[in-house]
Symmetry: C2
Subunit: 306 residues, 2 copies
Amino acid sequence: MNNTFEKVCILGLGLIGGSIGLAIKRSNISNQITGYARSNSTLERAIELGLVDSVKDNLKDAVNNSDLVILATPLSTFRELVEDMSPFLKKGCIITDTGSAKLTVIEDLKDILPNGVEFVPGHPIAGTEESGPDAGFAELFDNRWCILTPTEDNSSNAVDLVKDFWESIGSKVEIMDPMHHDKVLAITSHIPHLIAFNIVGTANNLANVTEKEVVKYSAGGFRDFTRIAASDPKMWSDIFTYNSDAVLEMLDLFSNDLAKLKAAVIKKDSDLLFSNFEKTREVRKNIIDAGQEESDVDFGRKKSEE
Amino acid sequence: MNNTFEKVCILGLGLIGGSIGLAIKRSNISNQITGYARSNSTLERAIELGLVDSVKDNLKDAVNNSDLVILATPLSTFRELVEDMSPFLKKGCIITDTGSAKLTVIEDLKDILPNGVEFVPGHPIAGTEESGPDAGFAELFDNRWCILTPTEDNSSNAVDLVKDFWESIGSKVEIMDPMHHDKVLAITSHIPHLIAFNIVGTANNLANVTEKEVVKYSAGGFRDFTRIAASDPKMWSDIFTYNSDAVLEMLDLFSNDLAKLKAAVIKKDSDLLFSNFEKTREVRKNIIDAGQEESDVDFGRKKSEE
């Protein structure tokens, strides 16, 4: 399905927005990709890297005549962006987004969409700890899931078009209820990030262990946490405030489970710990089997070349 | 320094023991490497893989005439192994270990060492989530730290010999006080593993999110935790019981910090979260700069080949 969207506008040219631009170019599904970002240095870099066909430094020119507008900026910017660009959107334009929380975003945009413009909420489950225009690559979404969380306000035609769009750039698409999305992502993404941010912070604050030691001996497990704790601070502070309900619900479950493990450590109950750890091992195997990870990922350790 | 130890015996032929065998062979620092494990299938596999020169199914033959005996089994097995092999150790033999907790091990072995035999406690900070003899590879210790925690009972000669040994197979060696080791490892390795085991367990127990969903959307952060939560259950249940004091101390710090982050999420204090996350980002950079991780580790995502 080529040229579904004659003109696509990407707002935000970081890891996600930049990768979308490159993935559209790879797939030849649009004749014109326009990019917008607040900073001139990002706009210049986007052109140098060829992330999009052209860039604009103002929303009016950026969204002008666009068939699809993609919000790829932090969650807290969506409402103002949509308010500001609304006068310039053409009838029939579809807005979608890449935000990691959905219920609040739907609420934020509900009453400010102009007539004839639909918002189809979306969330590609893909990323790295890198951010900024240089982090983008065309293959980011290949074989990864993109979740769409349409509402009763959406036409099935608009949802289908956005679904086709994501499939064209490599994703598999799943349709999900927004509240369910927010809970699933709270446990699979938001809580893991929160506790990774937290453990790195705790280590950094220790009085009796130096930062140098934390760095030196990080191969024991810590460095895996630092990867996701290196994710974009603005994006993540927005996620936790936008998905606070589901995050707090899952955090309570996490804390209750941790209290049980702590009790087992206090009692030195090696058997209970063992049976817990045996179960978690199986989950890893399922993720590798599902193709969402590769078993030979080396995490910084090169094996023999042979 | 070649042939420092004419004969080396490795007890336990899993990831660590097997890798030690392969690394010794690569370095040519011993003429004879003997392996011991409890299961016959492990012994057979060790020979097939060439992890060691020969294997023995009993401790007496395994340690016979050895200059260096390496304990590479779970922590809770050390005391019994040393008791059982003591009658067969030759005078001047050095025992070392690869255990992740040091104070309790030193205490465990203190009163059972035969005359003329020294125990030099050690801990290589290297590993993968794999276990068993097939997981071993000769490069595992290259450019990784090995921490030795000698006690007042150790001669400087024995410590130097063990230090040279680890350097010969690729490690950098650090000498550290055992209690300090246990605290450093609690925060850089044991707590990260405990909370990774815990989050994977929490996700697995959820009623309103299916295991299939957890697996499907794991690219959002969760899969990084499953890697370390797939580590050997026996090894890790031993670590938490053997290093319970330091683990509980660090766990309290972690929980206090997490309570602060939770309070910020409840208040939707995006600025406070942002300033926290900005700090943790820097730690990642320091780890990469220190050569304990590579920035281009792909964590299951292949970038363009070009």
